[in-house]
């Protein structure tokens, strides 16, 4: 487990760990990946400089990273845009087009029972995701717990590109954590990401070397 105060340090440490200790394999698209299983990364203070990894990615000017408002919107909007195969927001706020897991379950539950350990939601929809769909969500579950008066949150990601995906994932999770903590009137606590397949791609290695060094 990697535990850091700041998002940027946690990201750099995890990239180094995968680069040095990961195992290579070729994915279904023929790309060579280096992978670690069940990597847990904790950010103790996600409120501070949570977008630092995204800023660093943007500084390369080799690719065009999604804009912050679009990254946040995908998390908070219950509507599924015409152009996305799925969206985290619709899975959370409008699951199966009828369940608001956040406003109608997590928030009331923790409001009425702050010590509850049942504030878990699923973004994996067996109806859609096991029917051979081309795109299925990477973020499959979220757990919320009030610890020491702060809202702590854990995101479970089944397949996680730590170089390109993780910075946006952490920002998305923090946007949600901030939204819920305000509704509950509690402070923001630690943010933990559990990545079952934490991987990086070979064609990213040169950029990763630059980042960690």
């Amino acid at each position: 487990m990697i535990s850091e105060e700041l998002t940027l340090n946690a990201w750099k440490k995890s990239l180094r760990l995968i680069l040095e200790e990961g195992t290579d394999f070729v994915d279904q698209n023929g790309r060579t990946c280096r992978q670690l299983l069940n990597l847990v990364i904790e950010i103790k203070n996600p409120e501070k400089e949570v977008t630092a990894p995204i800023d660093l990615l943007n500084s390369f000017q080799t690719w065009s990273y999604p804009k912050l408002d679009e990254i946040a919107n995908i998390m908070l909007s219950s509507k599924l845009s015409l152009d996305y195969a799925y969206s985290y927001g619709s899975r959370m706020f409008n699951f199966n087009k009828n369940i608001d897991q956040i406003n109608e379950y997590v928030i009331p539950l923790l409001k009425n029972s702050p010590s509850s350990r049942r504030a878990y939601i699923s973004l994996w929809n067996p109806d859609e995701d096991t029917a051979g769909s081309k795109e299925v969500p990477g973020l499959v579950g979220l757990d919320f717990i009030i610890h020491d008066g702060k809202l702590c949150m854990t995101g479970f990601i089944r397949s996680n590109d730590i170089f390109f995906g993780w910075p946006a994932n952490v920002y998305q999770l923090h946007v949600l954590q901030d939204y819920i903590s305000k509704k509950l009137n509690v402070s923001v606590g630690a943010l933990t990401v559990f990545s079952v397949s934490a991987h990086i791609f070979k064609d990213q290695f040169e950029f990763i070397e630059k980042i960690i060094n």
Partner: protein
Amino acid sequence: MNPSEQRILLLYKKDPSAVFSTTEIVRSVDPETYESIESILKDAHSTKESIKKAKRDKAKLHRKLLYYLTKLVKEGVLKLVKEGSKGEKFFTLSLEEGEELVVEKYKKRQITISKPRTPAMPTEGYENLGIVSKVEEPTWIDRLNCLFCECKVINNVEKLFGIINNSFNLVNDCIGINNFEVFIDTSADELSSYLNKLDDDCRDFGKRISFNIDVDDVDEDKLVSFVKSFASNKYVNLNIIFEMGPKSIRADSSLFETIISILSQNGVALFIKNKSLAKSPYCFGKGGLYCFNGAEWKDYSKNVQGKVSSLSCGQSSLSVDVKKYYDRYGFSGDSFERFVINCAESLLSANSIHRRKAAEFFDYLVNLNEPYTQQVFMLSRNYLRFWNYGFLTEKFGVDFTIDLLRKVEEKVSAFTFSEETIYKSCGMPTRFKVAVTSSINSESENQIVRQDENLQSTKVKKKLNICERKSDVLEGSVMVEFVRHGILDTQEIAREWILLLSSYKLPFFVYRFKKAEGVNLRLDAFLGGKK
């Protein structure tokens, strides 16, 4: 400021680009009164008298709001964008992108409304130099270039023309109609009346429509009758794309001789898609040719076709004047490839806005295609069109041109793949494809086979081979144009088609009949279109 005016403006503040109908505004500005009236109107137990009163109250409520809406229009805050079929008015903010509107204080509050600005794009410098231009710039980010209608799903000719009409607001270049042969049975008078109106509307709204007809799946007499009617009306903005293969003509050349005869005498161009090479339908717009990626169309045909009424084909397009670029910067190093990536980045920005605003810009498509709305954009592409690049072949040779186009296509494909991967890894699985294609409005891009040129001559064979190679790189978007005039031998032209369809890899070509003076048509073909 009156409280009603303030509430109207607060509604627009939430969504500055929205177009609201009077009903939507009434419902939002005075929800309680509106709901109480509606509940009486919907209640099965309401008395006649109470319904009558509720209707009066509703009309009064509308009139009251219309007074303030008209006032805001006069003050230049709102503008009336359209009037619905039942006289309902639709309003939007009279604000350009990036502009801000500060309304006078009301109860110590100041209302500021701003419309999002189009983001800075890495091609703006080139646009200022005339090297890059956005196709249909005023509506570059809020409309599609090209939309296709699926006749086999729509299955009703009146509904089809209704959808085309409603789609004018969504499209800035052209609309393709797939499988129009299913409506060939409609009476000639009825079709003519629809098409006459459509051509007028296309002229007024600056659109083009392509009707794709599979000639192997249609009653010949009805096709001939449709073509006769179509040709005699000499539509300016409508065209027919005949989908055929070499077998189609070999099976019955007289049908095609008849069609050639009818169209040539009326000076109507004849567009041909070689269906043994291209499965996707085509659309001919101001920007150039639009079609779907062959492999993706195959997958769509197998798994999705039959579910959606309309499909987005072209989202945003950029045209590049290659000659102008070369004259200023040359082709040293990888500068041209980097420039092309800048173009792709601009298209990515436009795509991002399309995505975020899709529900607002394309709500009609959402409603039309329920519950298959996610499939509407499944084949959509952006277009990067090269223009004015014929000089490359003259200056550096054909191999250089083909090699340059291929490199550009590979770079752009790698960029779009990388961006799709980034977006996917961020939990935003979206589609971003760019078709590298050719503009077709300039002679230097198209190979033209003139009247005096024989298809068997070495010169023409060479031209067609170049075209085949370009077409291979540019996904079939190169159009060969054959100019024929004078006394036409329809049998000779039909033989040319068999050769073109069977011996060349040219997915799309056009015959233009300039100043057709007459035709040598066999009598049996002339009489009935039958052998």
